[in-house]
C-alpha cells in the first residue's frame, strides 16, 4: 500500500520566545507584576547593635548581603540562571500549580573574619568560609 505522505512537521525552533513578546516582562530589572528580579541586596550585621564591641576587636560588623527577587521567565543573563532553572521556569509557565518558579539564591559566597577575646583574654581570629554573598542567581 502507498504510505500516506507524512505532513512535514513545522521546523522546531529552539530559541526561547523573545522577552518582549510575553506580557508583563520588562527589561529594566523588574519582573512581572512589577516585582524585583532576582539580585543581591545589602544585609549589614552590626556587632555594635548586638552590643558585642567589648569583646569583638574587629570588625564592627560586616555586610553579609542576601538574595531576593523573582525568577520569572525568561531568565535573562543578569540572573546567571542554571539551565535547569530555565527549564523549570518554562515548565512553571505550563503548570503553574504543579511546578514552582526557580528560586533566587546565592551563586558565589566568600569568607569573613572576626577577631575577638576569649574568656582567658587570649585573642582569637576566626575565618568563616561561605559567610558573605558575592552573587545571586536563579536555581
Amino acid at each position: 500500500a502507498v504510505r500516506p505522505l507524512k505532513r512535514r512537521q513545522p521546523k522546531k525552533t529552539n530559541e526561547l520566545p523573545h522577552p518582549n513578546r510575553l506580557p508583563g516582562i520588562f527589561d529594566d530589572g523588574h519582573g512581572s507584576r512589577g516585582r524585583d528580579v532576582c539580585r543581591r541586596h545589602e544585609l549589614y550585621v552590626s556587632f555594635r547593635d548586638l552590643g558585642w564591641l567589648d569583646w569583638v576587636i574587629a570588625p564592627q560588623g560586616y555586610s553579609a548581603y542576601y538574595c531576593e527577587g523573582e525568577c520569572a521567565f525568561p531568565l535573562d543573563s543578569c540572573m546567571n540562571a542554571t539551565n535547569h532553572a530555565i527549564l523549570q521556569s518554562l515548565v512553571h509557565l505550563m503548570k503553574p500549580d504543579v511546578v514552582p518558579k526557580a528560586c533566587c539564591a546565592p551563586t558565589k559566597l566568600s569568607a569573613t573574619s572576626v577577631l575577638y577575646y576569649d574568656s582567658s583574654n587570649n585573642v582569637i581570629l576566626r575565618k568563616h568560609r561561605n559567610m558573605v554573598v558575592k552573587a545571586c542567581g536563579c536555581h
Binding site: S32, R33, G34, L50, S113, L115, Y117, S120, N121, R126
Partner: protein, 242 residues
C-alpha cells in the same frame, strides 16, 4: 497582566524584638559564627589599656587575612588556617643568674581554651629581642625545647623544637617554630604547655636569656612574649537543626 505600578511596600509586620528574642537571635548568630557563647574576658579587655603584643600581632593577621581574601600577598600559615589563637604567657620561671649553668627561661601556657576538633597546622613562639651590650657583637644560638615530663628527683625530659642563630646586637621579634609540640598538647588538653628557652654563645657557654636581650614578662605589654597557633577546622559536623 498584573499592575505595573511601583512594587507594593513589604507587608510583613516590622516589629522590635523582645529582650528574650534578641538574646535568642544573638545566640543563633554566635552559633553561626562558631562562637561557643559570649565570653566575658576576665579582666577588662587589654584593648582598653595599653595594647598588648598578642592583640597587636593578631590585628595585623586579621588585616592580612582580609587582604588574603581580596587576593593580597599570602602570609605564612594564614592561607590554610580557619582559626588562629594567641596564648598569653601565664607563668615564667627564670633559671638564671644565681644558678649554676645551664641558664634557661621557661614559659607556661594554658591550653584548656583550645577548641576541640581543630587540627594544628602551625605554632610559633614570639619573643622580643633588644640589642644586648655584651658580649658585644657575637653570634648567639637560641634553642627552644618543650618540657615533655617533669621529675622531682632529676632533670625534666625535654623535646627539641627549634634553633635560631642571631647576633647579640640584633633587635626585633624572634620567631621560634613550636609546631612539633602540638602533637602532644592535642592529646592532653588539660596539661599546661611548658616551653624552655636556652641561649648559648659561639663557644658553647650557656648565657642568661635576659642578658642576651630577650624580654620576658617584665617587658612593656607591647613586647611581652606570646604564642600563636594556626588551626584548620576539621570538616565541621552538620549543624543540628534548631
Amino acid at each position: 497582566g498584573g499592575g505595573h505600578g511601583p512594587r507594593p511596600p513589604h507587608t510583613c509586620p516590622q516589629r522590635r524584638l523582645g529582650a528574650r528574642e534578641r538574646r535568642d537571635m544573638q545566640r543563633e548568630i554566635l552559633a553561626v559564627l562558631g562562637l561557643p557563647g559570649r565570653p566575658r574576658p576576665r579582666a577588662p579587655p587589654a584593648a582598653s589599656r595599653q595594647p598588648a603584643s598578642a592583640p597587636l600581632f593578631m590585628l595585623d593577621l586579621y588585616h592580612a587575612m582580609a587582604d588574603d581574601d581580596d587576593g593580597g600577598p599570602p602570609r605564612p600559615h594564614l592561607g590554610r588556617a580557619d582559626l588562629v589563637m594567641s596564648f598569653v604567657n601565664m607563668v615564667e620561671h627564670d633559671h638564671t643568674l644565681d644558678y649554676q649553668e645551664p641558664h634557661w627561661k621557661e614559659f607556661l601556657f594554658d591550653l584548656t581554651q583550645i577548641p576541640a576538633g581543630e587540627a594544628v597546622t602551625a605554632a610559633e613562639f614570639r619573643i622580643y629581642k633588644e640589642p644586648s651590650t655584651h658580649p658585644l657583637n657575637t653570634t648567639l644560638h637560641v634553642s627552644m625545647f618543650e618540657v615533655a615530663q617533669e621529675h622531682s628527683n632529676r632533670e625534666s625530659d625535654l623535646f627539641f623544637l627549634d634553633l635560631q642563630t642571631l647576633r647579640s646586637g640584633d633587635e626585633g621579634w624572634l620567631v621560634l617554630d613550636v609546631t612539633a609540640a602540638s602533637d602532644r598538647w592535642l592529646l592532653n588538653h588539660n596539661k599546661d604547655l611548658g616551653l624552655r628557652l636556652y641561649v648559648e654563645t659561639e663557644d658553647g657557654h650557656s648565657m642568661d636569656p635576659g642578658l642576651a636581650g630577650l624580654l620576658g614578662q617584665q617587658a612593656p605589654r607591647s613586647r611581652q612574649p606570646f604564642m600563636v597557633t594556626f588551626f584548620r577546622a576539621s570538616p565541621s559536623p552538620v549543624r543540628a537543626p534548631r
